[in-house]
Amino acid sequence: MVPPSASNQAEQPAIISLEGVTKRFPGVIANDSVNLEIRPGEVHVLLGENGAGKSTLIGMLSGLQQPDAGRILIDGKPTPILSPRHALSLGIGTVFQHAMLVPGLTVAENLLLGEPWWRLPKKEALREKVTALADSLGVRIDLDAVASQLSLGEQQFVEILRALLRDSRVLILDESTSMLTPSGVEELGALMRRLVERGLAIVFITHKLREAAAFGDRISVLKLGRKVSEISPERFRSVGEDELIGEIVEAMFGKQHDDPDAANRSPNIFPVETPAILSVDNLTLAPSATTPGLAGISFELRPGELLGIAGIDGNGQKQLAEVLSGQEKASGGRILLENRPIERLSVGERRDLGLRYLTDDRLGEGTVGTFAVSVNFLLKQIDHPPFWKKGIEQSGLIERHAVQLMSEYDVRAPGSQTPVGRLSGGNIQKVLLARELAGGAKVVIFNKPTYGLDLANTLAIRQRILDIAAEGKGVLLISTDLEELLGICDRIAVMDAGKLTGIVDNSPTARTDVGRLMIGLAA
């Protein structure tokens, strides 16, 4: 019982085919032999968490980046996409995650960008075409409005219009719903359906499962740069939404058989009466324009416990870490370190009491890239004895300290004088680790410690985290990699929109419980 439309669609040849496309950035494999087919009349959803490699894939399709291996076929012919202009001429229009409109120009002027430079803009002809197109799609747009004054949804529609005006056959929407209001998302979804009915191919990138199930025809799930699952339109139609979501959750968060980094630690259960080393009570932070803030975060961390914080990136994890470390001031709530309130203390005072924070921004706020490794080890103790005496650097001592830490933490660098910015991500992380664990750490907060690292370094860092917990320190591990949390944590809390939506023990059912909490379903 295959619906007739489905069999028709199956005969449609793919407009774009990716064959074994691989893209590497220094220290990271963003895409690892990805195969993908994009067919007319289909919304092809690319689903995956941050860092799954979605945006890199889009960069290659839109001509901003070139694959390192593999090939891209257009209409069955191998065609390297050389530049954005080339992508447009091949009929590939992209709506990028961050609006690509010139803020000071009007909508009409933005739509006219890209015409030959010697021309006079044909505003009247454009007006006619846009009006016809917008009417047929049931949307209104003011061509004379200045782009910077449009809402994000309107800006996105202008970009979609631009792609359509150029006779695009493939429309790529990169995280287009992430900035939209719920009604804006609905409108975009309806528009996508109308466009594929006209025979357009749409590639829709999102990390929201509901949207994928609601608007998609075909879903490919990306995870850590690899395509781990594809759900065909036939399958899409034949199963119910709940079953579909279950299948996707399994693909996104499920354990993979070939995953060699799965740690097997049996979680510790701590009796309730164990005194907490860190307790956080009703911590709040006002939301800003770009961050969700914190809404009444409470939890307790016991000595030797490894508490994981799961959640889709950008749901307040970084704010939580920064409020705990003192880099940001909470608007309310209490933080007790060994029963001592520390919420009024400065970053340095908290550090001296044993609260340590390893930022995810390793090269930005974590280290000074142009400074030597040896100095980066002491970045938070500059001008303190014994390494500085009366303002004078004790270079011999600093050097010995560095050499010792480098061997202890297996930092692989040409030498202690190498600028830290030249090291790989894994080695920079080790420098940070060595620095933060030195001298009386009691509670260590990790923010995405293995993000972007290769396997060997990932395993080494995870082992180090386990060792820290085994020494009786409290560990808070913020990660967007659920596998990592399930592998090593004792308990896992889930953050969504600045709230802790639940804390579950790392039991055999934790995988599905956390997965469901992460995508906004009750555990």
Binding site: L105, L113, L120, P121
Partner: protein, 311 residues
């Protein structure tokens, strides 16, 4: 005081103002185009001095002022091509390269001039003037404004041309996009490097032309360091004019009056120390910056090299 505001004094003042304003106008218009496209062109002073020297040589050897203007513009383009290569193509720091070009070409032209002419300063014959019929008969202002070399009228015409380009032409949109959000221009299928290169080459040509006018018509001779900050005044004008060519014209005329005043006041024999009089144009710059400088809104991507797909 009646002497001071005599017809002769005012005539000389305004005539001198136009002559002094033209190099500033050309530099300001050129700088404006670079800045619109996102390139802060500090090297414009170097482009002017190169244009002044090349223009002077062209006119001196060919005995044609027009050929002098052509070599002057070419001299500016040569310097601009270094800026295009280093700053636009390879994305090096625009301020460092700009300062380097200015200092380098000030020194180089002085050196070459010394080798070539030693300590003599050959003078070019006075320029032919094009008299605009009827308008030049207006008392005082007529002869002051409408008895100039043809290139002066062309420079003023250029203001209108550029205003048209910026407001009405596709090129104007491209230039503004290159300065405001180059990534958007790139994904719209227009090469950002080419757009910016075009702007910087045009700046070079205009600055070179301005330099040639300064040497060949304004002074009639070339002396080392003759531009004396005219390029930097052009940068000030471009920043104050906020993308509008007419404002560059107004500003250039205002500075022109101040510069002309220094000469006119000395000629009129006013009993003020020369040093004070020569401060007037620069006091005017400071006054204008204090009055309008705060409001100047510069392109968002000004001074930032564009790299495709940078993350």
């Amino acid at each position: 005081m009646s002497d001071l505001f005599s017809d002769v004094f005012l005539g000389a003042l305004f005539f001198g103002a136009v002559t002094a304003a033209i190099p500033l106008l050309l530099a300001g218009l050129g700088e404006q185009m670079s800045e619109k496209a996102g390139v802060l062109n500090i090297g414009i002073e170097g482009m002017m001095i190169a244009g002044a020297y090349a223009g002077f040589l062209g006119a001196y050897y060919s005995e044609s002022l027009w050929l002098g203007f052509a070599t002057g513009a070419f001299g500016g383009i040569v310097v601009a091509s270094i800026m295009v290569l280093l700053c636009v193509r390879f994305g090096l720091n625009q301020i460092v390269i700009g300062i380097g070009l200015t200092l380098g070409f000030e020194g180089l032209t002085a050196l070459l001039h010394h080798f070539q002419f030693s300590r003599t300063y050959p003078r070019l014959p006075a320029a032919d003037v094009t008299v605009v019929p009827y308008l030049s008969d207006i008392p005082i202002l007529g002869p002051a404004l409408f008895k100039h070399h043809l290139v002066v009228y062309l420079a003023v015409l250029l203001v209108f041309v550029l205003a048209f380009v910026y407001r009405r032409m596709q090129l104007g949109l491209n230039l503004q996009a290159a300065g405001d959000k180059p990534a958007a221009l790139d994904v719209a299928g227009v090469d950002v490097v080419r757009t910016r290169a075009f702007a910087v080459f045009t700046t070079g040509a205009l600055a070179g032309l301005g330099g040639a006018y300064l040497a060949n018509i304004g002074a009639g001779i070339f002396v080392p360091f003759i531009t004396n900050g005219a390029g930097f005044l052009g940068i000030v004008l471009a920043m104050l004019a906020r993308g509008r060519p007419f404002w560059v014209l107004c500003g250039a005329l205002l500075f022109g009056v101040c510069l002309s005043l220094t000469t006119a006041l000395q000629v009129a024999g006013i009993n003020i120390p020369t040093d004070v009089i020569q401060m007037i144009p620069f006091l005017a710059v400071m006054a204008m910056l204090i009055m309008f400088g705060r409001k100047s809104s510069l392109p968002a991507a000004l001074g930032i090299p564009y790299e495709r797909g940078a993350r």
